[in-house]
Symmetry: C2
Subunit: 251 residues, 2 copies
Amino acid sequence: MDAIETILQHRSIRKYKNEPIDEAIITKILESGTRASTTGNMQVYSIVVTKDISIREQLLKCHFGQKMVMEAPLHLTFCADFNRFNKWCYARNADPGYNNFLSFMTSAIDALLAAQNVAIAAESFGLGICYLGTTLYMADEISKILKLPKMVVPITSIVVGYPDESPELTDRLPLEAVIHNETYQDYNNERINELYYEKENSELTKRLIEENKLENLAQIFTYKRYTKKDNEFFSNKLLNFLVETGYLEEQ
Amino acid sequence: MDAIETILQHRSIRKYKNEPIDEAIITKILESGTRASTTGNMQVYSIVVTKDISIREQLLKCHFGQKMVMEAPLHLTFCADFNRFNKWCYARNADPGYNNFLSFMTSAIDALLAAQNVAIAAESFGLGICYLGTTLYMADEISKILKLPKMVVPITSIVVGYPDESPELTDRLPLEAVIHNETYQDYNNERINELYYEKENSELTKRLIEENKLENLAQIFTYKRYTKKDNEFFSNKLLNFLVETGYLEEQ
């Protein structure tokens, strides 16, 4: 299938068939990951490929018990990884200077571009995928389960398998909501109302507001889904982990 | 072209024809960006689409004078953006709690997955692209040029245009260098030697070592390309900008 078609048809899949994935397909989608752009061709990322059920059971807890983690036969954890590069430098009498925030971001970018290539490649084979945003929340626990050494940080994960559902395309804001011509045009209230009109007036939103007994969709995000308290808790947890693993200095 | 083929044929393009891109194609590749997965469907990113020559001249300086910035007719800056979401929350009597590190990473991930979709979509139309890793180094200066408000951070940029070169595929480490089965297997010196053998013995590497008058390729990275001093300088610059723009608290 054409790349654009594959991209435009993306849905996150949360129900999977109990059907294994051919090894040749797995190799091809991983190879697709490695063809993504990488800063200075350093390839400062790693992909941990987990199929073992008992390890996925441990990962399940890190991903807040989302059932698809056990249903999908393939679990990929994309990690920022300066460990391999550093070991190479040490073995070559070169002094690496990557224990800092910029290098963390560099390696996180490498990991994410590879992840999206893998996602698209998987979908082009008729597989379904779902990203697990919980990865950064639980980076320290995932690190223990996957035996990650210092300077390796799980950034995102995707589960991969044959879909057992065919959900509708997810709604998006109108294209002009996320696009700025030449420079950024900031939003006033009127523009916000226009851009969020369709989302706020969908049947899904109306149902969610009723279920959550809140005034509107924005409150569902701030009071239920992505709360200040949780965000601050997981921010501190992640920053502590970045210190522990060697990317950030102790403050 | 099939998605896998498009992905496997990716080369970064650094020379471009003086040929404009059809508006319908630009719209299609931007739309492709918006179909990427986004955390909780919040779409906490923005894409600044810059064609104007005088603005690109200003951006050129931020991108260390790389000529392709002026050659390629389309310049896309992918930004972590909680500004729009926050404005929506404020307009809806919802109290956003996204001025923290986790939310910065969440929005950076959104921006990067969209960027890679755009890159692949562009390539599927026969366009060439190149990522600009300088974006994070110069986030504060780029922010001024593109008039980014608080809580908007440029994460990466790509230039897009019709290729005026057809470079060879870039070398990569063997697939097994970046893949770990089930859990992470750390590298010892022998394994590092094996995995880097081909890269270290290529004609390109031999030429670079001679030109740089250094012992080996690793030293070219640590002493010339990505030095400790530069990394630390740009880390502090970026962290200060994250404080200034509202994602991080002052330490």
